[in-house]
Symmetry: C2
DNA sequence: CAGCATCCGTGGCGATACTG
DNA sequence: CAGTATCGCCACGGATGCTG
């Protein structure tokens, strides 16, 4: 458990790289990287990016794919992600309207990060459940 | 940039693995993996995990390291992460009280995912800013 | 120092209704 | 179908005060 033995070893000096993210003076325009991070890690942002990594979706299709998202939040999430340059919105001038959403190259990069996290989460569900039971049991 | 050339290429069939996360019937105990994901990607959860990956921290020390976090939210975040088995809380019975927080092996895994995402975000800040200016400019 | 309890405002978010 | 607009709730989260 001592060493992580993983890819980008976050050893000495790695904290430096996140200094802009971690250290931040309140009452200030808010550090840009935090805003981006909050968009990407937002409740629906994560799931939308993960879904779009698989393939492109139409609006309602995406709404059905991501269980529990309201129409409003999906639209809002998509607009935010589009503005940040992660999502490409392709509105075809036909009737009935057809709008396809897909990831930009930048969005693919973001989605891959998020996707790895999501995958990891699903793999570790049991470990977390065990930890919770231990935690809850310890204070009963 | 066309191909991702990164670690776990999320090609065909990768969506299957996230089916439990994406597809979820509302009015139900809420899928476990989503809960975990929301803890990890929560506003302060991300930053706390990233900070603790560098080294262990005492409470106030961590509060100072993570700019903008309130005492309440830090305590709450730490308790959630502890319960999920990500954070180890070491309360030393001394006066004045001293409590050290560090990552468990499971927490290190989580933090590495989150850390990679945070790093990526900082690297792409400029690309996102450019995208936003393009987006905002297009509708003016 | 560590952190729980309480109060309370803001806004995130869902539900509903309406438009192109 | 693909959204916008509006209303209203409640819970996220900050500020303050108290305890061990």
């Amino acid at each position: 458990m001592a060493e992580s033995t993983k890819s980008p070893r976050p050893g000495e000096g790695s904290g430096e790289a996140l200094s802009a993210l971690l250290a931040w003076d309140v009452n200030q325009p808010m550090c840009p990287s935090r805003l981006i991070l909050e968009h990407v890690t937002s409740r629906w942002g994560v799931l939308v990016l993960a879904a779009l990594l698989e393939r492109s979706y139409r609006f309602s299709e995406l709404r059905r794919a991501v269980g529990g998202v309201s129409e409003k939040m999906l639209a809002q999430t998509l607009r935010t992600l589009e503005r940040d340059g992660f999502v490409d919105r392709d509105a075809k001038p036909v009737i009935p309207p057809r709008v396809d959403y897909s990831l930009t190259p930048l969005g693919i990069e973001a989605a891959e990060q998020v996707w790895a996290l999501a995958r990891w989460t699903e793999r570790r569900v049991d470990a977390v459940r065990a930890a919770r039971e231990a935690y809850d049991g310890a204070r009963a």
